[in-house]
């Protein structure tokens, strides 16, 4: 039997970008692959449920799950993998915070299904059939996983040991996380394996920000010709860097786009969106109620903007409803 540490990858509700972040290791993936035994990775290799079932509890050194939890199957797989693994890591924004797919929590499950299966222009579904958990067709029972009301993060489903943030995480962070396991140098359980401080700490534009930032009009990136060396906030463009954990190597900033918050909040913050409200309000340059209202109304889709990646992990977790 191999002495190599066993490792598994799995995906739940996600776009596949996190899997890409593993592939993006490039040459380094060979080093990782050489150092470990990959026992389960459905997206890249042919594994069956039976292969997983054959693995003993706690046999896998570390499993990286990306994607949030929306279906019965995802929940089941998360639970199985939790049992089989010594360490479970939430891989990427969706598993960590809920991610882009977590934006579905602004809607009821019925709205989501109705939109996808009835309203989308490319759909032809005159009977308005929605996915069923069970259906008997020609004497055979077909099943589909149940669709949950709410998108959940991985740690709202099973206990999670570590988090690799990002949409997607940088290949460096993924490699680092795996190497930490192999070299037995992991930080305290529950840590997010990236910077402790917010993005501004490592932002290449940080020195361009004045001591007192004041915004009198909010702008969107296409509305102005913006200075590629100057702090976005100082130019009136909403950048979530101050409320977002660093460690991404400021990829978006380097590409001249403001931070959208995919690394989630720093450790002491309970709710990234609320903190975005706080810091943005703080730099609005007015104390006149009407003027402030006008400024606030100029923020397109504030909840979508501030919770772009973190709605399921926020205090409210989803849009509350009256029913």
């Amino acid at each position: 039997m191999s002495k190599k540490q066993k490792i598994a990858f799995y995906w739940c509700s996600s776009c596949g970008g996190c899997e890409e972040s593993v592939i993006d290791l490039g040459q380094d993936i060979l080093k990782v692959a050489g150092a470990v035994e990959i026992v389960f990775w459905p997206v890249a290799m042919d594994f069956k449920y039976a292969d997983l079932a054959a693995i003993h509890d706690n046999e896998i050194a570390v499993t990286l799950i990306n994607g949030s939890i929306r279906t019965d199957e995802q929940e089941h797989m998360a639970k199985v993998l939790r049992k089989k693994s010594k360490l479970l890591m939430a891989h990427g924004s969706c598993a960590h915070l809920g991610g882009i797919v977590g934006l579905a929590n602004f809607f009821e499950a019925a709205e989501v299904l109705g939109r996808s299966y009835k309203e989308v222009p490319s759909v032809h579904n005159p009977q308005g059939v929605l996915p069923q958990k069970k259906k008997v067709e020609s004497g055979r029972e077909l099943t589909l996983p149940g669709f949950h009301d709410t998108v959940r993060t991985l740690d709202q489903t099973v206990p999670v040991d570590y988090y690799i943030p990002g949409c997607p995480p940088t290949p460096e962070l993924v490699k680092d996380a795996i190497m930490m396991v192999l070299e037995d140098r992991l930080p305290p359980r529950g840590s997010v394996l990236a910077d402790r401080k917010a993005l501004c700490e490592t932002c290449p534009r940080r020195d361009s920000r004045p001591d007192k930032v004041k915004i009198s009009a909010l702008r969107r990136v296409y509305e102005i010709e913006w200075d590629p060396h100057r702090c976005f906030l100082d130019q009136g463009i909403i950048c979530l860097g101050p409320a977002t954990r660093g460690g991404c190597m400021a990829r978006c900033i380097q590409a001249n786009m403001p931070c959208r918050g995919c690394f989630g909040p720093t450790d002491n913050v309970l709710d990234q969106g609320a903190k975005c409200v706080s810091f943005l309000a703080a730099i609005l340059d007015s104390t006149d109620e009407e003027e402030l209202q006008t400024m606030a109304k100029a923020i397109p889709d504030p909840a979508g903007l501030f919770y772009r990646y973190s709605l399921p992990s926020s205090l409210l977790r989803r849009k509350v409803s009256i029913w």
């Binding site: 401080k197 917010a198 007192k212 004041k214 720093t266 903190k275």
Partner: protein
């Protein structure tokens, strides 16, 4: 991180005060006790008749020791009433006073909810919240820092010298900084002061003399502050001290240099009514009685080789080589007593000032009346003849939506004083006071008005509004048109008009506001910390205000404020004693600060600064007052509000609903 994840384990004692019948009769106390006893970490919940009594306080202290309590919750009256009392009880029991939380079930339940069941339910929620919160409380210590007890006083008018003397009497070193070459401010240039019509210099000169010769006061004339760094107890103020070019130690003010100086410029000490030389003594009797060279106008300053004054000086006091100096003064507190200036009546053309001859401002008139002024106290028109009639116009630029809305408060009194002084100098002169309302507050003013208004020749002309008046020139005379209280337009000629313009913040106040980082109101006066209960302090701890720098004041008011500011400083800055700091301040977790600077602009006390080298902020614990604005704004959760932490408040909120959840 979620709330309640790792709730600390504590031993909590819960007390419910009956407050005599107040709480007992409005709340089912037994029910509340039973509820509290069932909550996590509660060692006991007990009822007491009147917990703020000495028996109650002793009970708490005893229980803490006997039961080894680590936290205390008291459900009673408002914390505003007895939080201090109970904190002391905790201390007596050997527990840090901040490990207490109160539930205000008297003001917020017993006294305002008629239904006893509802009052009981709400009391339970509040107690549960207090218990949830108190487990996260941390012991806080009152910290202390060493401080510098020396004081900087800016402005050597009556307010500034009053502050300086009060401080110096207690042997504090005072730096008295004055931008002009002499001290005494505007009052030193008045002839008589109301209400007792005393000779101003007789009253003031002995005081000025004391200031100049006081061992503990260092007078810095021709000086202005440039920069003020630091905080209460530890300021460093840079002062720009201009060269006098005359040795102040040896000059006796004989005036030999003045006589020979070939340059003449408008004399600002006589409000430009006459001229002075480039080397001059501001006015006869100015203290210190020392000449000064106005380098801007001196021929040497223009590059010429004049040395007339140096040759004339019998004592060799003139030193053309003297240089300006920058002094760095270490002080613990600062008093700004920079006085006022007056509204420029040219901005209101209806008064004809600057256009029509014979129209003067109050400050100009003070100099015309003064024996040290341009006419040596003779009241004369430009043509050298005395006026037959004089009009005194109140409220120029005041109490109007067009300029200033405030009332300067002193103008009525000095206009009456002018009437009396003019009457004494020119018996038989006719005097008209144009006013719309009279401001005669205080114990002396009405009596003064009664006396003066009964003098023959004084007429009171009531206008419909403060600015219902206009001056035009007619046949070489001033014609006054005004609307009387009946709405009729009246006309009357006058030889001389004296305007009483609004007081406004001194020229240069804006620069000082920036240097000392305090606010200025729209009238240019500095803004006090609180208009009623903290009138001589400012939002910047350690910077105090006195006199007209803060707002219109009369002389006794300015003296009072100078002494009040000194008192406030003396009571807190004591040599050798440390300054006690607010324990409930904000604290930065440096490991979390990304240097995003969001908080920097939010602190009204300038407690937050950005360290350009370490790329993070620092919170000055001396300046922080613990409002909690920066922790709320910090997007990294890097700032902790002591005693109001995120954990404490979130746990409290959760506790408010615990009763509902448990049911």
């Amino acid at each position: 991180m979620g709330t309640g994840a790792m709730r600390p384990r504590e031993r909590i004692g819960v007390y419910i005060c009956e407050c005599g019948p107040n709480i007992k009769e409005a709340v089912h106390i037994d029910d509340v006790v039973h509820f509290a006893q069932g909550l996590e970490d509660v060692i006991f919940a007990k009822v007491f008749g009147l917990l703020c009594s000495s028996e109650g306080k002793e009970l708490i202290a005893r229980d803490i020791k006997a039961q080894k309590l680590t936290r205390v919750v008291i459900a009673a009256c408002s914390p505003k009433e007895h939080e201090m009392t109970f904190r002391q009880a905790l201390e007596k029991g050997g527990l840090n006073p901040f490990l207490l939380q109160m539930a205000n079930i008297r003001e917020q339940c017993a006294w305002v909810i008629d239904d006893k069941d509802l009052a009981t339910e709400k009391s339970k929620a509040m107690i549960a919240a207090a218990i949830q919160r108190v487990v996260y409380h941390e012991p806080l210590e009152t910290r202390e820092i060493t401080c510098q007890a020396d004081v900087l006083v800016v402005g050597a008018g009556v307010a500034g010298i009053s502050a300086a003397l009060a401080l110096a009497q207690k042997r504090r070193k005072v730096y008295l900084v004055e931008k002009s070459p002499c001290i005494g401010g505007k009052v030193a240039r008045y002839e008589e002061i109301f209400p007792h019509l005393e000779c101003a210099s007789c009253v003031l000169d002995p005081i000025l003399d004391e200031v100049l010769h006081h061992d503990h006061i260092e007078v810095l004339t021709l000086s202005e502050p440039q920069e003020a760094l630091g905080f209460y107890g530890n300021f460093v103020v840079k002062v720009h001290k201009k060269a006098r070019y005359i040795n102040a130690e040896t000059c006796i003010g004989c005036g030999a240099c003045v006589e020979v100086c070939p340059v003449k410029v408008a004399n600002e000490y006589n409000e430009g009514l006459d001229e002075r030389k480039a080397v001059y003594i501001p006015y006869a009797g100015a203290l210190p009685n020392v000449a000064v060279i106005d380098w801007e106008h001196c021929l040497r300053g223009q590059g010429e080789a004049c040395h007339a004054c140096k040759e004339a000086c019998p004592f060799g006091c003139v030193d053309y080589e003297e240089k300006d100096q920058i002094l760095a003064l270490k002080v613990g507190a600062i008093v700004l007593a920079t006085g006022f200036d007056i509204f420029d009546p040219r901005k209101a053309p209806q008064y004809g000032y600057g256009e029509i001859e014979g129209i003067y401002t109050s400050l100009e008139f003070e100099r015309l009346l003064s024996s040290t002024g341009p006419t040596e106290g003779q009241l004369l028109l430009k043509n050298g003849t005395p006026p037959h009639n004089i009009a005194l116009v109140h409220c120029v630029g005041s109490r109007t939506s067009r300029f200033y809305t405030h009332c300067s408060g002193v103008c009525c009194m000095y206009s009456l004083k002018f009437a009396h002084q003019a009457m004494e100098k020119l018996p038989g002169v006719s005097i008209k006071e144009f006013y719309s309302d009279l401001c005669l507050w205080g114990k002396e003013s009405q009596g003064f008005f009664n006396r003066v208004s009964q003098e023959n020749g004084i007429e009171l002309m009531r206008m419909q509004g403060p600015d219902a008046i206009e001056m035009v020139e007619k046949d070489g005379h001033i014609l006054i048109k005004y609307t009387d209280v009946c709405g009729a337009v009246q006309e009357t000629p006058s030889d001389m008009v004296v305007l009483a313009p609004a007081m406004e913040g001194a020229t240069g106040a804006q620069q000082l506001a920036e240097i000392f980082d305090i606010s200025q109101g729209k009238e240019g006066f500095f803004v006090e910390e609180h208009a009623t209960v903290a009138p001589v302090s400012t939002a910047r701890d350690g910077v105090f205000l006195a006199g007209c720098a803060r707002g219109p004041e009369d002389i006794p008011g300015s003296v009072t404020e100078g002494q009040a500011a000194a008192g406030a400083i003396l009571s807190r800055l004591i040599p050798g004693e440390k300054l006690a700091l607010e324990p409930m301040t904000a604290e930065l977790d440096e490991g979390l600060c990304s240097g995003c600077k969001i908080c920097v602009g939010l602190c009204p006390y300038r407690a937050i600064t950005y360290d350009d080298i370490r790329k993070r902020i620092t919170i000055n614990e001396v300046l922080c007052r613990g409002c909690g604005v920066c922790p709320a704004a910090c997007p990294s959760g890097a700032i902790k509000a002591h005693h109001f932490t995120d954990m404490e408040i979130c746990a409290e909120i959760e506790g408010l609903f615990q009763e509902a959840l448990d049911r």
